[in-house]
Symmetry: C2
Subunit: 279 residues, 2 copies
């Protein structure tokens, strides 16, 4: 249960004001070259927003990444903007550093999100259902090369996951980028820890950038903005994931993700705007 | 210059505090059945964020729609979260109603965005460029049926635009939905008013829902969350636009937009999460 433990938050009663403040810690080992993975930071914020909104599922969450998150204490401050019938909308800020210890603090992530209860939604008559798409066609897990964590790439948190990449997209195993900015693979936690809807916010940002398969050298691609839509709670088991970049222009690129559960249902979509690494 | 006039904002000096506050007005005629169009409201917020960040272009903007915007006075309050080297990130809230007149006010739109200067970016060496996509293949404007504004649908603001729809997607002219949740068309303002990057925030939400072509009856589809990425300032002339929905599940749907300028360049992408109209 490492992910649940490493994303735990605790409400601070010593911070009066319009915002609810949660203490947390950016744990060691969730970084890429010293900077915490964006989906991991977003999961910390998601846990605090879950608590502050008293709604279990992040239906739509958008993060702007302002500064790298370094291991150590952090606060997440959450302000409810509107508590509606179906959704509660809130803004949140993750500030890293410990102000009480006299250290400098800095805003690392700014978030806005709508939280709701996806079980309640699924149970109600939803009207039209239409799916123009399918889970990625992946060979069995055992035939897909696994990413093993190292010092920088693959990052150390790979050892806490089982992230198996489609053989056609596994340039790290074959030595050959596929030529297409596409990365497909299987995802679960190493100890088969259950994947809740906050963990999906991590899953959609856990894979290496798809542009590596288009021949862009592996490097830090800073995320400007990241949005995830969660459609349903995943069934237990593996996730089938697919990430694609179609447009690299003006130094920007988008990456679109889709995550499907073992029952073949779409559980999340993601899109991020990132900066191309400068040569 | 109706769009520029109807999205003008003016800084209020009578509101001290950490946020810059701008007075504006939700003008008559930009509504669908009495509720202001989301892209129009987002453009009002965009103008205020442009002013508060002192950066001209909305690179990534996300809006959560909290309550319908009705015609009348409104305030946009903007707080700069981080002024960085390339981008300034800010949050903003549009509140409709006039507190000074003793009327009730309510938060209608909550926004987070990163603003920058796209001219400066385009001028710098950007490294890799790669485009896996193309502008929609549209017949000449004269062969594409125009949407003419009415009481509710098409909405009255169509008369201030020239929005011509691909004949295959123009169910309103042919009486036949195409069977595919796809809507392609030409866009410009009626008086050929220049389209700046804030006007792109309107363009990406000006078309009717693509799901009508999949046979979902035309109805109000409430937007939960809307994100636009602006890649470049458009060249003068027509925009080629394309909107598609792939997944209608659990009462949710996404709609993805692409906007291309006359020079054939991708200028914006959009994605929204909306609710399926309940039967």
């Amino acid at each position: 249960m490492r992910f649940a433990t490493d994303t735990a938050v605790r409400e601070r009663r010593d911070r009066p004001g319009p915002a609810a403040v949660y203490a947390t810690e950016v744990r060691q080992g969730w970084d890429v070259g010293g900077n915490a993975n964006g989906g991991y930071l977003l999961s910390l914020v998601g846990r605090a927003m879950q608590a502050a909104t008293a709604r279990p599922d992040p239906v739509s969450v958008t993060a702007h990444f302002l500064a790298p998150g370094r291991p150590g204490p952090a606060d997440v401050s959450v302000e409810v903007v509107k508590a509606g019938r179906a959704f509660t909308t809130a803004t949140a800020t993750l500030t890293s550093g410990d102000a009480t210890a006299g250290e400098g603090t800095r805003r690392a992530v700014q978030v806005v999100g709508a939280f709701g209860d996806l079980t309640a939604r699924s149970a109600s008559p939803a009207g039209v259902e239409r799916v123009d798409g399918a889970p990625p066609d992946l060979p069995p897990v055992g035939e897909c090369p696994i990413l093993v964590g190292g010092e920088v790439f693959p990052p150390p948190f790979m050892n806490w996951l089982q992230l198996h990449v489609h053989p056609d997209d596994a340039w790290f195993a074959t030595g050959r980028p596929s030529g297409e900015a596409l990365l497909r693979g299987w995802f679960r936690f190493a100890d088969d820890e259950p994947i809740d809807t906050v963990a999906l916010l991590f899953a959609v940002d856990a894979f290496p950038p798809a542009i590596v398969n288009a021949g862009v050298p592996m490097a830090w691609t800073p995320t400007v903005e990241f949005t995830a839509h969660v459609r349903a709670r995943p069934e237990p088991g593996w996730l089938r994931c697919s990430f694609r970049t179609r447009f690299i222009t003006g130094g920007f690129l988008e990456e679109d993700g889709e995550v499907w559960d073992e029952s073949g249902r779409l559980v999340a979509q993601s899109r991020q705007l990132a900066l191309l690494p400068r040569p």
